[in-house]
Amino acid sequence: MPEKVILDEEDIRRALTRIAHEIVERNHGCDGIIFVGMHTRGVPLARRIAAYIKEFERAEVPVGILDIGLYRDDLPSLGLQPFLRPTSIPTDVVGKRIILVDDVLYTGRSIRAAMDALIDFGRPQSIQLVVLIDRGHRELPIRADYVGKNMPTAIYEEVVVRLKEIDGRDEVAIIRGEGQ
């Protein structure tokens, strides 16, 4: 299947540094912020943004890990169960600003599940959403607050995010699937 690279390592680095600055600007610093990365690729993205913020703000922002397997709305139709990994939210979320991080925003259903999961931990002051790619085709009224790149796609295309921590290299590609 033909694969087209739309973001390379440098593009990803620039997008994430910009997002890091936007987060600090919008929240007037980084007090009371917690990053929560969504399994799998949201986790390294959240860690990288937190590291950029540490560089220029000299402040340590906690990073949590969220697995939404137990909150999915498609379990009965899926046929197979998602593989579960432990969630770990490092601090109390009550009154905090949660910055939720995922790689691709698509239907919005994962984000809905993630918000349900987070609210089970307590009542945060707010939840903001970071995504590296927004590919459109939303099925729920959800939008991202910080976007690496808006990438209009056809429904038969697939967006693949590869990150060094997991895949050995940094890039975002579009794969044209069947039905093109």
């Binding site: 799998t40 690729r41 697995d67 397997g69 137990l70 909150y71 498609d74 379990l75 009965p76 139709s77 899926l78 046929g79 197979l80 169960q81 998602p82 593989f83 579960l84 990994r85 432990p86 969630t87 770990s88 691709v104 698509y106 239907t107 259903r109 994962s110 349900d116 999961a117 089970d120 931990f121 307590g122 429904i155 697939e158 967006v159 693949v160």
Partner: protein
């Protein structure tokens, strides 16, 4: 036991490869399946550590527990597990139900299925009872202990507890002490531990060891009747409850002699590896197979077994009922 499934809505969803419909014993479990259960249990344990210990995963599913034998921890543990996953639970006991009117096991199970049960946990005093109903109904069947045969969920929670403390089960030396003949816990543990690469040593008077215990009947296990020798180099020790109600058959000369030779006390515990874990499937006869000092001592993980039991059962309910039937 995980694969990446390409889907329209989400390109890279990792799914668990789980095709088992019933949990009857660990004898036919593949090592990968046990590993998947243990990894899923990690996620469930996190849920149980929350302030609000509840997730919506199994909303609309119904679990029925059918207990033909007394139980505290297994039944309550399944109930807690189902509730934490938002499933509904119905507890049925033999007394007070149509079982007293002579309804057969199969008919009772069929009735529960018709009433909308999605899974049935069964404990029965006859070995094989859960196997029988599993052949006649479509819903998931979990063996909550059948006669002297098997207690797979206990086996899994023991594996989980060992793995949690020692990091792995591979290469662990586990000594099981006492009434092996009547112990379904011992049988399921032997299967589970052997599959995961542990060495199982049984220590008991000959009258409490099953007849025909050889390499052809079981996975390779060692028998050492002298407890002090059995305990040398042990990483995990599990004294079994001396089923006092069964000792009228004259299998032991006296309880006092059993205590002298097989009770796990602090002096004997010192013969095992430093920091060896002490497990007990409960309920305990403190002062018989184990001293209170050891049962409540620093090396005891008996209470953790109970907590882990809820998480393991959540993992099993999720794997059985989480996807499509």
């Amino acid at each position: 036991m995980r694969t990446t499934k390409q889907r329209e809505t989400e390109p890279s969803l990792e799914v668990a490869t789980w095709r088992r419909r019933h949990i009857l014993d660990l004898d036919d479990f593949a090592r990968e399946e046990i590993e998947l259960v243990l990894e899923t249990t990690d996620a469930m344990k996190e849920v149980l550590s929350r302030e609000i210990k509840k997730v919506p995963t199994l909303r609309g599913k119904t679990l029925v527990t059918m207990f033909y034998e007394p139980s505290t921890r297994t039944r309550v543990s399944f109930e807690q597990a189902a509730k934490s996953l938002s499933a509904d639970i119905i507890n049925l006991s033999a007394s007070g139900s149509s079982v007293e009117k002579g309804e057969s096991l199969i008919d009772t199970a069929r009735t529960l299925q018709a009433l909308g049960a999605d899974a049935i946990v069964m404990r029965h005093y006859h070995a094989g009872a859960p196997y029988l109903i599993a052949q006649h109904i479509e819903v998931n069947v979990i063996n909550g202990g059948d006669g002297c045969h098997a207690h797979p969920t206990q086996g899994l929670l023991d594996l989980y507890t060992i793995r949690e403390h020692l990091g792995t089960v591979e290469g662990v030396r586990m000594v099981i002490i006492g009434d092996i003949t009547h112990s379904r816990v011992a049988r399921s543990n032997i299967w589970g531990l052997s599959k995961m690469g542990a060495q199982v040593v049984l220590s008991a008077p000959p009258t409490l060891l099953p007849v025909g215990l050889d390499a052809s009947a079981f996975p390779p296990i060692a028998v050492e009747q002298n407890l002090d020798r059995a305990l040398e180099g042990a990483d995990v020790i599990m004294p079994l409850r001396l089923q006092l109600e069964r000792q009228k058959q004259g299998l032991l000369p006296s309880i006092r002699e059993y205590i002298q030779r097989y009770q796990l006390d602090a002096k004997r515990l010192a013969k095992a590896k430093p920091g060896a874990l002490v497990l007990h499937p409960g309920p305990m006869n403190e002062g018989v197979e184990i001293t209170p000092e050891v049962a409540q001592g620093a090396q005891s993980v008996i209470e953790e077994q109970v907590t882990n039991g809820v998480a393991v059962r959540m993992a099993l309910l999720y794997l059985l009922m989480g996807g499509a039937q």
